[in-house]
């Protein structure tokens, strides 16, 4: 059945072209981008020093204007040298939405989409737009296998209303969206199993609700974002803390975000924060996440951009088990430096250096003992980002 996927894909493309020919609508637009990188990681934990080429990401878009006010877009994303036969990487249907645009003040987007949250979320996977090779950590979807990206930012929504109100030279942005609560769609929950079976169907009566409001004035942009959702991935540990799983069935999680960006002369500054508070309502279990980043860049020429960036990720976990109570504070600090050079309008070369410093402090309550673990490693990366 290896032939099945490519053949189906070709058939879909062929049928799209045929439909176009038959009904003579505006042509379908096919475009996308990819980023290939060469990364050198120094040793950390039990992973030895290594080099690797990688097709970090490839996105493929189909877009069609279905009339003056209607647009449909589909976005396929392939990560980390995707190969189904070798079971490498990921292939995701990132977006498939229909938008109705009345005017700049009112747009409604229905279907799978990346919601507007802070400055970067909506464009976090648009690699040609970003100078980074490794994006600010919570936006680095290619790290999704080992970093909980979706805990920090809302990855998908299904309905969104957005736009801006122009008042003089100011623009007041707004967006409100609705989606599924992530990680909540577990088919077969049983108390002795971790939640590993997900259907994509939200099995609760709750929604992810969120939005952003902000102001733009020339090159100044700032805003605040928030989401509320309910998660149930702590249900499986209920028995270990002597609780009924139903108490952890719908745990509220609140994200708060803020973003600020400003261009002055040849300088560019942008920053964000995200705070995630998971309100279990029981003292035995508490989880808070924090993320901050700031980037200061300088356009050396119109084509050459140099930058320094600093990212901080922190998680604070309290788990008071009956026989193994602990509090854990983990931090990851990453100073970065990089260069991005636009070889042409569609080709961007990038170089990036990151120094990763992680520290993990675990306080065991009984016996009273503190364990500290620190790690430092560096990542050197070169990449080419191509928009086609």
């Amino acid at each position: 059945m290896k032939w099945f996927k490519p053949v189906t894909f070709c058939l879909i493309l062929f049928s799209i072209n045929n439909v176009h020919a038959q009904i003579e609508e505006s042509p379908i637009k096919i475009f996308g981008y990819f980023q290939n990188s060469l990364q050198h990681w120094t040793a950390f934990e039990d992973i030895r020093e290594h080099n690797s080429f990688s097709l970090q990401q490839l996105n493929f878009f189909l877009q069609k204007d279905l009339g003056r006010n209607w647009t449909a877009l589909v976005n396929f994303e392939f990560l980390n040298n995707f190969s189904s036969s070798r079971q490498w990487g990921d292939a995701n249907l990132e977006e498939a939405w229909l938008r109705y645009r009345l005017n700049e003040k009112f747009n409604i987007k229905l279907g799978l989409q990346i919601p507007i949250f802070n400055n970067l979320n909506e464009i976090n996977n648009r690699t040609p737009l970003l100078p980074y090779i490794i994006r600010p950590l919570v936006y680095e979807t290619s790290f999704g296998e080992f970093f909980p990206v979706e805990e920090f930012v809302p990855a998908r929504a299904f309905a969104q209303i957005y736009g801006f109100l122009p008042i003089g030279k100011f623009k007041f942005d707004y967006a409100v969206f609705l989606g599924n609560s992530p990680n909540i769609s577990i088919n077969n929950y049983s108390s002795d199993e971790s939640p590993n079976e997900q259907s994509g169907i939200d099995t609760t009566t709750t929604f992810l609700v969120g939005g952003r409001t902000g102001i733009r004035y020339g090159e100044l942009k700032l805003g605040v974002s928030a989401t509320h959702e309910k998660i149930n991935h702590f249900m499986y540990i209920a028995q270990y803390i002597g609780r009924n799983p139903s108490e952890l069935k719908e745990v509220p999680a609140i994200r708060l975000g803020g973003d600020f960006s400003y261009g002055f002369g040849n300088f560019w500054f942008e920053s964000e924060f995200i705070l995630v508070d998971i309100k279990t309502g029981i003292p035995e279990l508490d989880l808070n996440l924090e993320f901050y980043y700031a980037t200061l860049g300088y356009y050396w020429t119109e084509k050459l951009f140099i930058y320094g960036s600093y990212w901080i990720t922190e998680s604070h976990i309290t788990i008071l088990f009956t026989d193994e109570d602990f509090k854990e504070d983990e931090g990851i600090l990453i100073p970065n430096f990089g260069i991005a050079y636009n070889l042409t309008d569609r080709i961007r070369m990038k170089a990036h250096y990151s120094k990763v410093k992680s520290n993990d402090t675990i306080r065991l309550i009984l016996p009273n003992r503190i364990t500290k673990k620190e790690d430092n490693f560096s990542v050197y990366a070169l990449a080419i980002s191509v928009f086609f």
Partner: protein, 156 residues
Amino acid sequence: MFMPLQSRYSFRQRNRMKGIFPILLFLSIWPAGAFGQVAVIANPSVPVDTITNNELLDFYSRDIRLWNNNKPVTVFDLKPKGEVKEAFYAFLGKSTSRMKSIWMKKMLSGEGDPPAALNSEEDMLNKVSLTPGAIGFVQLKLVTQSVKVLAVIESK
């Protein structure tokens, strides 16, 4: 050192020409490169007679796509780089590369396409005059009665 008269004359002429040549070269190039004033032109159907740089930026950045009579705004860009194009985008407060990154962001977010880039100012004049709701820019001296002038950008 003696030289024939003709040769001496030619030598002086050549020396004089060495000084004159750069001036002549400058004069021959300057009028062609100097664009004087740039006119922001529009199709006669547009419902305004003047426009500010902020309004133009809203149209060119594709933030606003409708005139106040709800008819669509069509914007055109020039393909060749040059003083006319630079003066126009400087009037908007943006470099051409910054505008390109704004358009790319819009395109990759599914929020709109960049403006069609035309090969020459003559094409621009022609397209704007034929496309309802269109805006563009050309040297003021090229403007004809087939388009409306919404603003004039003074040369620096």
